[in-house]
Symmetry: C2
């Protein structure tokens, strides 16, 4: 699915131009402003500081990204508080053994959150990777889990949401693929971000807690055995059901699966997806994967 | 604010690697999968097809992007239908002359939508620009406005939202910076996408309708004189108030302004922002613009 690395030369300049085209004042909608200068021609001698990736510009830097996050927290909080008043029979966690929701019974109310780019923005390492032109590096990330306390930022609306949920008797629980080897660092990171106490094994679940690795399904079952989970939040489909991330699923089929019954009723009504165009299994696909033939269009000669 | 074009060579490879790093199976949250192959070394001779920009992968190709859109449409529709039952005194359009909302009085109910990447996805030209390595090109876009009918796709949830609003007596109105010279093409484009009738001068407002160019403020005032606007939707701040897009505002100040009182109460409660990390004034900013010193972090030596 993934394209090979682009080389230097024209394709590199093209990608740079595209990054800048994403930066142009407007497609059709911005205030009148002078057009941006034409990009400098590509040259092997003019390597400069990399631009901030467009996903990071949008999510970490823009009003729009922050507003989108805050809107999602507002929707989640309103939904959860309403459900707390009219206790549901069903959890929003699906029992993968049966395909049906776990029953709530009389279990105490909870809401389950992914951590990275759901509760907190990991601006520290994401900036570092972009600035230094690195792929994701596991050793760097491991250091971040251990030492990022105080640098990981609570996402817009997250602190208020945690407060509102707790005040309504709903316990926030974090289910994250941060490593169980770094439990203390992650507990401290969440607390230092102002999000309150998440205690490993109680209200914080980590990769390594069971034998199923990066799948969160079994941890969700563990949580559902004890809690009536009325809302779940994440930035990628694995935060809801691991089966959505089957590696062989092309993007558009993955999308069709996740948006079909019985999941269609859950999005925004129990399952809350936070926009994250910075990283993850959503950032995938070549032209043929994303743009089927019926979407193809090109201008007539002379307009290029 | 914007970085210069990156050159070829290492920076080009770095940006490519970063684009691919966004494509790696996981930062911390995906199912266990083999690590991706190391990127090929950059070379002026190995120019290949550009990769799909990460913003397009997320918005146009991923489950997550589509879900985020559908969630926003769900929130907008629920809010608008509730307001229709308890008619508000105030519009959600601010009178820029006074800073206060326009009064609703007894005007008929309406909801105002931007069009591009709010009602429809302009996959045709956006794919073309990316594939051909072009910056946004006005002549190409003009052709698209004229001929894109049938190719512009209604965004997830948009058709259902238009139906629900109309059934509740709320008139959808499009306020877009598509050109008034191409009114027929844009009317047909929206109708062919299944979004119903938007009639220029009645329920469709375009750039060129008045003398204020790409600012939508005066068109909003024109709409508010006739309609009680109970909800507004867009993908960038100019879809709500032109003043948010003052060109000299650095990204973080722009964000602080838009999220401060009196606007803070509106986001998700009358004003609905659709995630669009593909283009627009949100895709802006260099490292120093987006990452103030307190966010800086780096791994200790040996972990790089």
């Amino acid at each position: 699915m993934r394209q090979s690395t682009i080389g230097a030369g024209r394709a590199g300049a093209a990608l740079a131009a595209l990054a800048l085209s994403a930066c142009t004042t407007t497609v059709v909608e911005a205030p009148a402003a002078p057009p941006p200068p034409a990009p400098a021609p590509a040259s092997a001698e003019t390597a400069m500081v990399p631009t901030v990736p467009m996903g990071q510009q949008w999510l970490y830097g823009s009003a729009e990204g922050a507003i989108a996050v805050r809107q999602t927290y507002g929707g989640l909080t309103a939904y959860a508080l309403a459900k707390a008043k009219a206790r549901p029979a069903d959890s929003v966690i699906i029992d993968e053994a049966t395909g049906k929701p776990f029953a709530c019974g009389n279990k105490p109310l909870a809401a389950v959150f992914d951590a990275d780019e759901t509760l907190i923005w990991n601006i520290g390492p994401m900036r570092w990777f972009a600035l230094t032109g690195k792929e994701f590096d596991a050793k760097t990330w491991d250091q971040w889990e251990k030492t990022g306390t105080g640098k990981a930022v609570a996402m817009p609306g997250a602190v208020e949401a945690m407060q509102a949920l707790r005040a309504a008797g709903i316990t926030p629980i974090a289910n994250t693929n941060r490593s169980s080897a770094n439990a203390a660092g992650s507990e401290q990171t969440l607390a230092a971000a102002g999000l309150g106490t998440f205690k490993h094994g109680d209200t914080l679940f980590l990769m390594g807690d069971d034998a199923t690795g990066s799948s969160k399904d079994q941890r969700r079952a563990t949580i559902a055995a004890r809690w009536c989970v009325i809302a779940m939040a994440g930035d990628q489909l694995g935060d809801f059901r691991n089966g959505f991330n089957k590696p062989e699923l092309p993007p558009l089929q993955r999308r069709a699966l996740a948006m079909a019954a019985p999941y269609d009723k859950l999005w925004g009504q129990g399952w809350f997806l936070f926009a994250n165009p910075v990283y993850g299994p959503s950032i995938r696909g070549g032209y043929d994967d994303i743009f089927p033939p019926e979407t193809h269009w090109q201008p007539n000669q002379g307009a290029e």
